[in-house]
Amino acid sequence: MTISEKENNIIEQFSMYDDWMGKYEHLIELGKSLPLIDEKFKTEDYLVRGCQSQVWLNAELKDGKVIFKADSDAIITKGLVALLIGVLSNETPDAIIESKLDFIDTIGLKEHLSSTRSNGLVSMIKLMKTYALGFKVKEKKS
């Protein structure tokens, strides 16, 4: 599945809810149901510090694709992290770098990506793309 196909799936999922409460309940469920990262990665080295909530992120390259694992201490942030991981993980560095991630706006959760929310998500997306770029450079060299 391409990134945009995955995004469309999410958009379809969220279109089932016509009010904020349903959307957030779904997001909270996503957050709760996914143990996203191994406890050993929950250290300073993997921390994306937000003013309000924290995100831990790890990335590895396997067979030319980037595998992301992440987690957050806040459940709503974790739900959004799950969405982002679902879309970007297991993709090539190029696809990750070029991704626009417009689906967050489409499903009406864009406010969580504003800088005032300070939940670490904006920094996390930046870091995911930086990892992808890093892997791309590394691949070219080798």
């Binding site: 409460m21 909270i28 309000q52 201490d73 806040a74 459940i75 709503i76 942030t77």
Partner: protein, 418 residues
């Protein structure tokens, strides 16, 4: 005593808190399709129509630079600004307007003192005493002062209720202590510190005391002469006035000795390339064109507060605090952070293991504005071993009905999140 009682009675008669709410136009707006319930007053207070009108009047009628021109507009603006300074003086009962410096806010007030004292007063090995519950703005300027001068920072511990442990404070004081800088009312916990006792104790050793009054000035009468503090700092925007204006009160004996904080126009008497002589107080500390509108309208905000009466405000807010604490106690697994005996109308809490951010997001969806996070008091959060809290800070325009909305919102958030 009798006179005080009479004033209180008079204020109670005057203040109709359901009516004053209508002075604040923003309170009638909707957020996310719900009537706004604004409980983030600790971050900033809303503005009454009187303040909004005064800002407009300044710019549409007499905007001009102060202390410069001989023309009418400049004189009107200068008079208005200096009248406002007098209102501030009276509001905190300072001895003289020379002791009232306009700054951009509490943060700048503290930085001004820290920077100025670093130039002539702090020496290597000196000690500066602060408390565990300080806002970052009453920590970092002193850390910077320590870095510059070789002084050391000492921290007064607090108990589990969020109160300063007075014995420990006394033990920290010695001949090396050069300043005590503490918060009057904690922004995260609501604790009202025993500042009068702290000042008395420090003064027995001739140690000056700076009070961060950012969260006190809007909740209770402040009399700097009665407190006998050496410095008192607060912000206009937390007192129903504009942002970007604040006050540094300093005893004249200190302000006279202190070198200027910034150089520029207004703060000088005479400039040559060889030497500059500085202006007199309070202008010595007000370099450049000040925030004239802010300075003037801070006076309007003080007039507004006086029209209700700070004693009446204090009494009513205490009633709201008690009601909110009582009602929130009905929430399952709620934990209050900050349970001091003496509290201003600030309630910090956590629900079971739910992250404060999540609660804040759900409450926002319900039109309720609270603050979540560490409230710029990270060392204090570390003391309690928590990432942050949900904070509802109440003022006189809030109502018991709004508190009921908050309580049901918190219950809703809990139901969704746990």
């Amino acid at each position: 005593m009798k006179e005080v009682k009479n004033i209180e009675l008079l204020e109670e008669k005057k203040a109709d808190f359901n009516k004053v709410r209508h002075d604040f136009p923003i309170l009638s707006r909707q957020v996310n399709g719900k009537p706004l319930v604004y409980f983030d007053n600790g971050a900033t207070t809303q503005k009454p129509q009187q303040v909004i009108d005064a800002i407009q009047h300044y710019y549409s009628y007499y905007n001009s630079n102060v202390h410069r021109g001989v023309h009418t507009l400049s004189q009107e603006a200068t008079t208005a600004q200096e009248e406002s300074r007098e209102k501030v003086r009276k509001f905190i009962n300072a001895k003289s307007v020379n002791e009232i410096i306009f700054t951009s806010g509490t943060t700048e007030s503290i930085n001004l003192v820290a920077s100025s004292l670093s130039k002539f007063y702090f020496k290597p090995g000196d000690e500066i005493v602060i408390s565990t519950m300080e806002h970052h703005s009453n920590i970092v300027p002193w850390q910077m002062a320590c870095e510059q001068t070789g002084a050391k920072l000492k921290v007064i511990p607090i108990n589990d209720a969020g109160e300063i442990i007075f014995d420990e404070f006394e033990k920290l004081l010695n001949e090396k202590t050069k300043l005590v800088a503490v918060v009057h009312v904690s922004n995260s916990l609501g604790t009202i510190n025993p500042v009068k006792k702290i000042i008395e104790k420090a003064h027995t050793l001739n140690i000056p005391v700076l009070l961060d009054g950012a969260q006190a000035i809007q909740h209770m009468p402040v009399d700097v002469q009665q407190l006998d503090c050496d410095f008192y700092c607060f912000s206009g925007h937390k007192l129903y006035g504009p942002t970007g204006i604040g006050i540094l009160y300093g005893k004249e004996k200190w302000l006279e000795q202190m070198p200027p904080y910034q150089g520029g126009g207004e703060m000088i008497k005479h400039v040559t390339f060889a030497k500059t002589t500085y202006n007199e107080l309070p202008f010595k500390f007000e370099a450049g064109t000040p925030h004239i509108e802010g300075a003037i309208v801070l006076g309007t905000a003080i007039d507004y507060v006086n029209s209700i009466g700070i004693n009446a405000i204090q009494k009513y807010e205490h009633e709201l605090l008690n009601y909110a604490t009582e009602q929130l106690s009905s929430v399952d697994k709620i934990r209050f952070i900050g349970t001091a005996k003496e509290k201003a109308s600030v309630i910090s809490f956590l629900i079971d293991k739910v992250h404060p951010y999540d609660v804040g997001v759900i409450l926002d969806k319900l039109g309720i504005a609270v603050r979540t996070g560490h409230h710029c008091t990270e060392p204090l959060m570390d003391r309690f071993g928590i990432p942050g809290t949900v904070r509802a800070s109440l003022v006189f325009y809030n109502t018991k009905d709004e508190i009921d909305v908050l309580v049901s919102g918190v219950k809703k958030a809990q139901q969704m999140l746990s």
